[in-house]
């Protein structure tokens, strides 16, 4: 029985000012999957990730072709507002970027602008749930009014994750979320991802193949702007079908 994919990309291509960065990428993302996108630098995985929540719209000269569907709606159709897409598909970035506001205000910014809470109490609840889900509540519950930028790198990244789950997105995109963090902070976030997958679909771009192997159940390998191979993580890392995938994951190219 094939489950209906949560998001699917069909023949997606991206070019920057005429220069092709990504061509003919088709891939399905099932609900509650954790999918890693791996590949050498410049292979287009970050570009593809940014297509999934229309963040490429903010870049001048970027042209996206093809279709990306979220629950049967093509997110690139002219009737769909990119703001709505981004409320349903959240994003966590490589370098932790909390707003220069208090921890409380960081979390409740999203719920405020999307009208998710009717009272201060409801906002408090949302903040507590988000921080608890992100594994940060115990560490910051006594200092919610302190600036978010005063936390350590790992805590800041968990704050960013809490911020993005506060608006209950359906899919969370992560662009190398641990690359700026030390191994302990990385491990904490990987543990967190393991717990978050019960509620969200997670698509994560990573440079570390060990991380992809640890946390994801499906992996997609990109190279020179093309999707080379996609499948179960177990298979990709034990019996990859494509020669190029093999070369990359064993450290022969890249």
């Amino acid at each position: 029985m094939t489950a209906k994919p949560k998001m699917s990309a069909k023949n997606v291509g991206v070019s920057y000012n005429g220069k092709v960065a990504l061509s003919e990428v088709s891939i399905d993302f099932l609900e509650h999957d954790v999918i890693s996108l791996i590949g050498p630098s410049g292979c287009g995985k970050s570009t593809f990730l940014r297509c999934l929540n229309r963040m490429n719209d903010t870049i001048d000269g970027c042209v996206v072709s093809g279709e990306i569907q979220l629950d049967n709606y093509n997110i690139y159709s002219s009737e769909i507002d990119p703001v709505e897409v981004r409320a349903r598909v959240g994003m966590v970035f490589q370098k932790p970027n909390p707003f220069p506001k208090s921890i409380y205000d960081n979390i409740c910014y999203g719920p405020r602008i999307h009208g998710m809470a009717n009272s201060r109490d409801e906002l408090d609840e949302i903040v507590e749930w988000s921080l608890t889900s992100a594994g940060l509540w115990e560490e910051v519950k006594d200092r919610l009014n302190e600036p978010g930028t005063g936390l350590s790198g790992g805590q800041q990244q968990r704050l960013c994750i809490a911020r993005s789950i506060a608006i209950h997105p359906e899919v969370i995109l992560m662009d190398e979320p641990c690359s700026a963090l030390d191994p302990i902070a990385t491990a904490k976030i990987e543990e967190l991802l393991g717990q978050l997958r019960s509620k969200f679909t997670i698509i994560i771009v990573t440079h570390s193949m060990q991380q992809a192997a640890r946390i994801s159940n499906r992996t997609a390998f990109f190279h020179l702007g093309e999707l080379i191979e996609e499948g179960k993580t177990d298979d990709i890392f034990t019996v990859p079908k494509d020669e190029r995938t093999q070369s990359y994951i064993t450290g022969r190219i890249g």
């Binding site: 060990q210 192997a213 890392f237 034990t238 020669e243 093999q246 022969r252 190219i253």
Partner: protein, 238 residues
């Protein structure tokens, strides 16, 4: 894959491991030849040598184990590299067992020295055992080539050869039983020869196992067709 790892030290480690396997395989081949030779010529000194030299094979297995643990810890291998390294554990294990069988053959040769020159020496059964050993020796050589060249087809051919070894062993089993029935004085010699034959047949099985692991190393799964067992000595009744 012909191309090398970006980190060349990784390639050096893998080559080192491969060399050790090849060395072990060469030693095992030699032990087999020497032990059969010692049996045929009834050369007790040579048999003693074979028993002693088994140490080298055991030491090599330990070295290979250490190298594999190190590679796994430090290089985090995946895909073909991982399969290759895991296969090496199995292959070295199998080679060590083959070495043990050669030692066992030589021990039996030494045991036979007590019985003196017996009429069966130099005749049929010994020739049969020698022929079996030849096949097994060529199988060992071919499987090692298949391992170095990462040629699954060659490995599959080796696997097929085991059929012949099994067949010969079944025939010899019956023959020896007949001799034992004819004349009780033959029992000691024939019993030892039975075990020698069984050892060689088991060696063939281990080489087949190595061949299956080479196939796994290349293709990522063991061969689909199950081994053809022509050894029906377990159900032989005379």
């Amino acid at each position: 894959m012909d191309n090398e790892h970006i980190v060349t030290a990784f390639d050096d480690d893998l080559n080192n491991l491969q060399n050790k396997i090849v060395e072990m395989g060469g030693l095992v081949e030699k032990q087999l030849l020497d032990s059969i030779d010692a049996l045929l010529k009834f050369d007790l000194a040579a048999a003693k040598e074979v028993v002693l030299h088994d140490n080298h094979i055991d030491n090599l297995e330990l070295e290979i184990d250490e190298a594999i643990v190190r590679l796994l810890a430090l290089r985090s291998p995946v895909a073909a590299d991982l399969r290759s390294i895991i296969s090496c554990t199995k292959i070295s294990c199998n080679l060590e067992r083959i070495g043990d069988y050669s030692k066992n053959i030589s021990k039996r040769t030494l045991a036979l020295s007590d019985t003196g020159n017996l009429p069966l020496m130099g005749s049929g059964p010994l020739k049969t055992v020698s022929k079996m050993a030849e096949i097994v020796q060529s199988m060992i050589k071919n499987v090692l080539d298949a391992y170095i060249e990462k040629d699954a087809t060659k490995a599959d051919d080796v696997r097929a050869k085991d059929e012949d070894v099994d067949h010969i062993h079944s025939g010899l089993y019956r023959e020896l039983l007949t001799y034992m029935l004819e004349d009780p004085k033959n029992i000691t010699l024939c019993t030892h020869l039975l075990f020698v034959s069984k050892n060689v047949e088991r060696m063939g099985d281990h080489v087949t196992s190595i061949a299956e692991h080479v196939h796994f190393m290349v293709h990522g799964k063991i061969p689909e067709e199950s081994r053809i067992k022509r050894d029906n000595s377990s159900s032989a009744y005379v």
